[in-house]
Symmetry: C3
Subunit: 352 residues, 3 copies
């Protein structure tokens, strides 16, 4: 794709400042832009680079006011990230899997496969599986008996989807993720040994869900583990049996959610967060990275700490924690002054 | 399986309250039970559902006292989870791998394979491997040279077991776990570069061990990393080189144990816990999720926090942390009163 | 290999104390040493074992002073770990993959393969890939279109390297790691739904890098995610898009680094650490396990806690946290004394 700044501005509904006829043909980071590249400035941390970049065009916010002269042509837009996301997809690369079903793919009995499906080398599909149109399965994907994929799913290499799991449309699962492994359920017998509780539920994944590399979503012990429409899971996340994650919730890497917990829609959960089992996290909750959630959470909460407190409360407590050594010397000083007062009072004459 | 409440009660040694002749044919969660389903109530959090469920039979504890009328037939048992675990295994599904050795499996030289072994498509087995009777290997499993599996092991898809590792009987390993990868060992040279210490030990796994999806158990640098009989590891756990995990210890997801640490038997370790290297955790220790262990631990301890404190000690300290801002204003108030006292004392006449 | 203590001492530039003619033929841990084995004592925690070991030879530091008689022959060396690392590599085992390209490997178009390359069963290599001399690819490895491997790389089973990623020489990647998966980037639309930002950058890995099992290194959104020469990553680590890890930095298991963060060279980062996006961690920084980094860090810092404080500062604050309940009773005592003072002062006669 080779386009002018003017064409881009029209596409984005933005406004050009500078040469409208300059061409760009590839996207780049602002630190690395060269002639012919298109870049963007959204996070003010990177502002210094706009005065030095050799990129031909930079997308900026409508309210961006340069502090120094800028060589590049600017396009001012309402939402820089959204505009960049829209453009970058035009420069995106070709699919990694050839169309059609590889000769080495093993397909079970009674499998229905839609139109325009690509199945790569060494894929194994069990019996009674349904794969809708437009799906791409990369090498070493395993789909267990009775599972189903909606249309236009993209399943990367090494993903294992166990039996009886259902995916919606446009689900993306990244490499080596595991869907439908057994939940962690045991009963401790009187002999002190654990007896396994068979995990006979399944996993249901909605539409437009994206699941990161090496994520694990366990099947329910009974019933279903549910990942609802529009959920985005980063890499290395643990979703235990019978968890239910609400629509359009996004969870950062390495977070773990224990069994039977319900996460509301529209939550933003940071990385390395831990959430105990059997609690409800209300809609629109924001949880800071590394926090620990041990009880039900009201909708719209903002939390931090392990165990978590309201965000500002945690910051105040932590500020005090940080000043602790100083506080201790302050208390020692108070004690000293009290001792002085006590001594002095010994020396005064009582009323009377 | 289709059975009456009476038959179930006899099997479990339980007592029927309600219609003993009602049939059930599938298990279900109490929230989702419909006519013909069997469910259970163990966690009191879910009690409300027993008054609304359409399930035909509910297992409850011997001491359960309903607060409202219940439509379902009850079966009262001593341990609800244990009873449910026993029943659910009767409803469990069929194996995912066909009997026999798939034509696409690559089997090395001098491999011994017992009776009733199933080896799925695209499994790779090295030389001098021993696979005992009743084992199931799912697609894309790799077993390195010289490794051995006891009887009735179930190895899910994508599991990589490196050379020279030994598994006991009835070991289950979930998808994409890695057994016997190199430990993380280097020497920093005078040039500031790390020089790898070859990891030439192995991994020994006992009987009745279950290992979750995407877990990593590193081989020992020298000697063995050991996972003893009855240990249960949840998903995404890291077990470093030369760790030794004692019998019947259970560890929740995303916990990491650093090199050469010994975990005693019968411990319960929460999720996202970190344990440093070269320490001993005594038998029967309980560690709360997200805790950090940095020293030897006495048997029977109960710990919380990072770095961990005794459980109740941590709770008390954290309660104070939570009340910190209030404490600060309390101290400020004390200081103010001292200033007042100091001023007043200026005005009193000394004894004389 | 069967050698005498004298030969070993010459090889290492060490000094023999005891029988120089005793033979050793295998390495062992000091707890497990038997006649014919070579072991070492570096960590003083294990000193008790040197007085009981049946190993024939023990490597010790130059300044080691036994407190009891020792049966084994000692070899005194400057750096015990370095000496042991040097020797152990002589005892190391044979490669797991046979030389040559397995008949079942699928190799794309325009792939260049150097001399002495081993490619195992069921490896899939895309188009336009370059694999330099001496590389070993284990079963189920996937190399995407346009990626390149330097010489002598060792890629373990199940590793997925996506399109357009470049590895230097002597890179080792352990089983089921993922290189070049999509970064976690979305824009939230006005409809509350996330819109994916296509991730069209790549991953560049330097020379002598080692990457642990089940690690994920995401591709850049634009530009490159960079792992520089000599970096060592333990298992289950998350490296987000556009991260840059400096030369000879070592990172322990389960740590996560968020997008666009730059880690300086020669850092030592503990396990389960979290580092937010868009910050710079200076050269030579040491970060304690389970810490959380939320801002730029000066070179040479030593940090601990979540959010992290300077190491000793955290320890002091945590000591106070631990003594919190005691502090509270101390403050209560001060308050009581103030009340007493206030009462007494009521009873004294003012000056004048």
């Amino acid at each position: 794709m080779k386009v002018t700044a003017k064409q881009l501005a029209e596409l984005l509904g933005g406004r050009v400042e500078g040469d409208p006829d300059v061409y760009v043909e590839r996207p780049a980071r602002i630190e690395e832009g060269t002639a012919g590249s298109l870049t963007f400035l959204a996070n003010p941390k990177y502002e210094e680079h706009i005065y030095k970049t050799e990129a031909s065009v930079v997308l900026v916010g409508e309210d961006f006011k340069p502090k120094l002269p800028i060589a590049a042509t600017l396009i001012k837009v309402g939402n820089v990230y959204e505009a960049m996301a829209q453009l970058v997809s035009h420069f995106d690369q070709k699919p990694e899997v050839s169309p059609g079903i590889a000769a080495t793919a093993k397909i079970g009995d009674r499998v229905s496969i839609g139109e325009d499906v690509s199945i790569g080398d060494y894929v194994v599909v069990g019996d009674d599986v349904s794969i809708s149109s437009g799906c791409q399965l990369h090498p070493f994907v395993y789909i267990g008996n009775g599972s189903g994929l909606g249309s236009d799913c993209l399943i990367h290499g090494g993903v294992q989807i166990h039996h009886g799991c259902q995916l919606g449309d446009r689900v993306r699962i990244h490499a080596n993720a595991v869907i439908g492994s057994d939940g962690f359920g045991y009963v401790k017998g009187q002999d002190g040994k654990f007896k396994k509780i068979q995990q006979i539920g399944d996993v249901i994944i909605g539409n437009d869900v994206e699941i990161g590399a090496n994520v694990v979503v366990d099947r329910a012990s009974l019933g279903s583990t549910i990942i609802r429409d529009g959920v985005k899971l980063d890499n290395l996340i643990q979703i235990a049996h019978n968890v239910d994650v609400g629509e359009n919730t996004a969870i950062a890497a390495q977070t773990g959610i224990a069994g039977s917990t319900q996460i509301g829609p529209d939550c933003l959960i940071g990385g390395q967060v831990g959430i105990v089992g059997h609690v409800k996290v209300g809609a629109g909750t924001e949880i800071q990275a590394q926090s620990g959630i041990a009880s039900d959470i009201e909708p719209g909460s903002r939390l931090y700490g392990s165990p978590a407190l309201p965000y500002n409360h945690f910051l105040r407590s932590y500020a005090s924690f940080k000043n602790f050594p100083q506080l201790i010397s302050q208390i020692r000083d108070l004690e000293h002054r009290i001792v002085q007062l006590e001594k002095k009072l010994e020396q005064v004459r009582p009323k009377g």
